[in-house]
Symmetry: C2
């Protein structure tokens, strides 16, 4: 059903990029529609079958906070584990870590905020208090042999505070890594960042001793900048890029399209640059069309709409 | 109503970029809805008031081919001319040039195809025959003191032929310039291009003696690549970028979103990079929201949807 772009490698880009798929967690967490456990498991199975090697599966946040993902243990229990495929899960606190360990996870992610405003709203505590909350989670996870990712939200702008100083991102980001995280994921949660800003943050982290090999980037396409920002991040040496299959989590008809970069748009981009992703784009698009049908609305991914020969699911 | 991105200049980019606004011509030509002449004139007036300095106004193609723009002479007659603002118009042949000159235009654009398939379908003649058709148009326009742009379609892919060789783009592009065009606009008509491909085409043209100062880029966002491709083109020294206000010409709900890069998304991007555009983003967004209301459907521009605080017009 598709076609793929011609391959034209560009200079100064990494030979390999890891796509960190967040659709089943970050995507579904932000969808209005409740999704049955079996559908979540089938989504993850299809994403893995399409060639994605890192698929964030769910969140062990309290179901009172995020009811959409209240079936985290059931999802993990039903997942087929495929050799070489990683399934990180979100964990907010020690209780969440206990539940995640009981569910047999082998990789977790904690989620801090670069700004006080979002730390208060998302975690109900200050940045310092949230780092203190994460400290035993990270050390406990590492003691159990788990890999740990540290998400940092609001790295490029904050809806309450406006501009976020680069120095602030460096400060909180390095402290998050010092807790023992293997990787720092820079989140442009409201999508306002632009390529020079992305490179400034990466350069400042480099000056602070955090090289691009320890970073991931998590861009939202709210202002259409996500792929240009990805290009800037790759040019700065980053090799881990977050994306959400079919743009899950961003409704094309909602008040604003706050979704993540669509995985299909990223795969098209990387393939054109001659960077192997291992993803079967046809299978991925088919998965996103199927998922859009489950959600009862089309996919906001442009590649999905172009290749699915229709509205991408409705 | 907005906010603007923080300014973070990136290295190796031009200090100034000209936005070549194509909404009133390329956008409206591809809209299903018929737009009254007065609305077209008001759209152009608002775009100029928002700070755009190049606004392609209409097309002197035969109304039998493009009925949407059959009122070209009326539009030109009704336009307020503002000092320093350019209003190129499309002209296909000598008859069109006569009509355009009679209407008092001071800048035209001809439109060739890099591929035989699209030349036949769009112009009903071969590439050679179409260049022969344009030759007296370009020389006649220059003799009358008009600036001439040469559009080249299908530079990165063709829906009938698939991959388009870079050598083909160089061949037809240089011949188009040799007719006397001041500028060559590289069109990614189906939106399949990616940044390495963009840089390969620009580099090959440079090898053939056509520097980036003679180029414009015209990207479609069908696969979500337009802004990343723009970034690649700027890094290669291009300073003229086409865009369509509110993404006019690409319906977000249609079979595929084949629209041009949205001007608002481009302005956000350039502003973030510290490149002055002279555009008042609030005024531009308001114009696109107004135009979307005239068309009875929301704008596909992500910036419009984010900043208009709603669906961007419906």
């Amino acid at each position: 059903m598709t076609g793929l772009p011609q391959r034209f490698p560009a200079e100064g880009l990494p030979a390999r990029v890891e796509i960190y798929e967040v659709g089943p967690r970050d995507g579904l967490q932000n969808e209005q529609t409740a999704v049955p456990t079996a559908t979540k498991v089938e989504l993850i199975r299809r994403l893995v079958a399409a060639g994605l090697r890192i698929v964030e599966a769910t969140s062990f946040v309290s179901p009172r906070w995020v009811p959409q993902l209240g079936d985290a243990a059931e999802v993990m229990a039903a997942l087929d584990r495929v050799e070489g495929v990683r399934h990180p899960v979100l964990v907010p606190n020690e209780r969440g870590l206990e539940r995640a360990l009981a569910a047999g996870v082998d990789e977790i992610a904690v989620f801090a905020s670069a700004t006080e405003s979002f730390a208060q709203r998302n975690l109900n505590r200050s940045v310092d208090e949230s780092l203190a909350m994460f400290a035993p989670v990270v050390s406990g996870a590492r003691a159990a042999g788990l890999r740990v990712r540290g998400y940092l939200s609001m790295c490029f702008g904050d809806p309450w505070e406006g501009p976020v100083p680069v120095s602030r991102v460096v400060d909180v980001g390095t402290r998050l890594l010092e807790l023992g995280c293997d990787e720092l994921a820079l989140g442009d949660t409201i999508g306002t960042g632009t390529p020079g800003h992305v490179q400034a943050v990466i350069a400042a982290l480099g000056d602070a001793g955090v090289g691009p090999e320890r970073l991931g980037v998590h861009f939202h396409d709210t202002y259409g900048q996500a792929l240009a920002n990805t290009y800037a991040a790759l040019q700065a040496g980053v090799t881990v890029v977050d994306a959400s299959a079919g743009g899950l989590g961003g409704c094309p008809f909602a008040r604003s399209a706050t979704g993540n970069l669509a995985t299909e748009d990223l795969v098209w981009f990387l393939t054109g640059l001659g960077i192997d992703t291992g993803v079967d784009l046809d299978a991925l698009v088919a998965t996103s069309v199927w998922m859009a049908e489950q959600l009862g609305r089309p996919s906001p991914s442009r590649v999905v709409r172009a290749l699915a020969g229709g509205s991408g699911g409705s």
